[in-house]
Amino acid sequence: MAELIVTDVTLSYENRHVIEDISIELHENELVCLLGASGGGKTTLFNVISGLYTPDTGNVTLNGEDITGQPGHISYMLQKDLLLPYRTIEDNVALPLLLKGEKKRSAREKVNAYFEEFGLQDTQKKYPHQLSGGMRQRAALLRTYMFSRDVALLDEPFSALDTLTKSDMHRWYLDVMDKIQLSTLFITHDIDEAILLSDRIYLLTGIPGRITDEIIIREPKPRRKDFHMSREFLEYKKRIIEKL
């Protein structure tokens, strides 16, 4: 039972409010998206949820436990893939387990069980620079998943990829999420991506950033092939553009 609740979070850098009164929720197995303009405070909010920053006011709870300002509870994939260049892919993916004190052998065994499922077969012994951007992103996501199966925060997971790789990755992402049932909150400033991938969308707008709207995408999963060209899709898009 994974449930993340963020209540009335406000944070400022040197007296400048960046985010104000943010309240959001993430329920079990949900894919929720945080959509907003660049510089709007999305990453800042993630830093608060992950416990890296302590908010000025408000709190964060995970399954009823207060985790405000405490790192180490929620999986967080930062804006870059941040794979360590001097570790093989398998050792990168195993990193969260090693940090928890697990032995190298058993950590490797555990992560290896997922390589196939994540479309990463035969990359175990390679180094990050030998992989394409898409593959690195997959590895980073698998590492995120290895940390915790409760809740994951993904900061613009696909923004660094080219359009073709991106649509490939979208398909892969929905497929994997369906299999592993991870509740995720992800950031994007790509409206199409938001509609395509999420069950619910929060709009974060203004300075300081506030949650100004919540849009529920009522489209069954797995999504039909031509969803991104359907009338419903355009309706959602129009609604979002009006509100941004």
């Binding site: 830093n47 992950s50 416990g51 890296l52 790192p71 180490g72 509870h73 929620i74 999986s75 967080y76 930062l78 804006q79 870059k80 941040l82 360590l84 260049p85 001097y86 570790r87 990193l95 969260p96 090693l98 940090l99 928890k100 390679k126 180094y127 620079h129 030998q130 940390f147």
Partner: protein, 282 residues
């Protein structure tokens, strides 16, 4: 000494970075080809210099006793080989002990100064100061204080070798990527874990660049310390042959010292390849 050294360190790393950035296939082949070309030129230059040298001393342009010909030097090297080796053993032992301790001290200093800002503020200026004191000036003092045995030599080597290591490691630790550190923090990593998983491996390239410098400092430091007092070692041997005006033997020992330094630097390169396998598979 401090400034040019820092520049040296930066050069070595930035060159590698550049190579990594260039990366592409075509570029790689291009640089490999020019690398083969790079090797021909120094060899050619050395041969030409040796040729001029040989002619200069065998035609009597320079008096033979002042500038022995390369062939004389080679002869002296062969005749004195056993003696050179037994002295080299002593010098190498001092260099290794000094270098080992110097690296250990340098590492410890870097870790402490990275971990505690106050330590950094307190010790960094002092460390730089130790480097402005010329080696040749403190060596006699060390001999007076600690005698003719190994101790003053080792101390001198520690003083000259720890600095490059401290500066480069500290630089490496401080330039650890902030986002990567945050990623590990978000996974609940402790400071010690962040050090071993991010800061230390990320500084290895810089560490080896500084180790190459420290290795040659160690050999030269040992020789200088031996000049000023001792019972055996290449420096002692050098002062002896100098008193006898055996220029050929002088040259032979100088040659041996640079060969030793080169071999040691080569060994560091090998060690680096072993320790940093990810640099290999480009």
């Amino acid at each position: 000494m401090c400034l040019p050294l820092k520049r040296k360190l930066q050069n070595t790393t930035s060159k590698r970075e550049r190579k990594r950035i260039q990366g592409g296939r075509g570029q790689e082949q291009f640089s490999r080809k020019s690398y083969a070309g790079e090797k021909v030129w120094p060899v050619l230059t050395i041969i030409i210099i040796l040729g001029i040298w040989q002619t200069a001393s065998s035609t009597g342009m320079v008096p033979r006793f002042m500038l022995p010909s390369p062939i004389d030097v080679a002869k002296a090297f062969i005749i004195d080989f056993p003696l050179l080796m037994s002295n080299a053993k002593v010098t190498l032992l001092e260099a290794f002990i000094g270098l080992g301790m110097g690296v250990a001290v340098g590492f410890l200093m870097a870790v402490l100064m990275d971990r505690f800002e106050k330590m950094y503020q307190a010790f960094y200026p002092l460390i730089v100061l130790t480097q402005t004191v010329p080696t040749v000036a403190i060596a006699p003092l060390l001999v007076l204080w600690f005698g003719y045995e190994m101790l003053p030599k080792v101390i001198l080597i520690v003083i000259v070798t720890f600095f490059p290591v401290t500066v480069s490691l500290l630089d490496g630790f401080k330039s650890a990527d902030r986002d990567t550190v945050n990623l590990l923090r978000s996974m609940g990593a402790s400071k010690v874990q962040i050090f071993w998983f991010v800061k230390f491996p990320g500084s290895l390239g810089q560490f080896f660049a500084s180790l190459r410098i420290s290795v040659s400092y160690a050999v030269v430091g040992a020789v200088i310390a031996e000049w000023l007092g001792g019972f055996s070692g290449l420096g002692v041997y050098m002062t002896r042959v100098k008193k006898a005006f055996s220029f050929d033997k002088m040259f032979a020992v100088i040659f041996l010292i640079s060969v030793i330094s080169l071999l040691l630097m080569g060994a560091v390169n090998l060690l680096q390849k072993k320790c940093m396998p990810w640099e290999e598979r480009e």
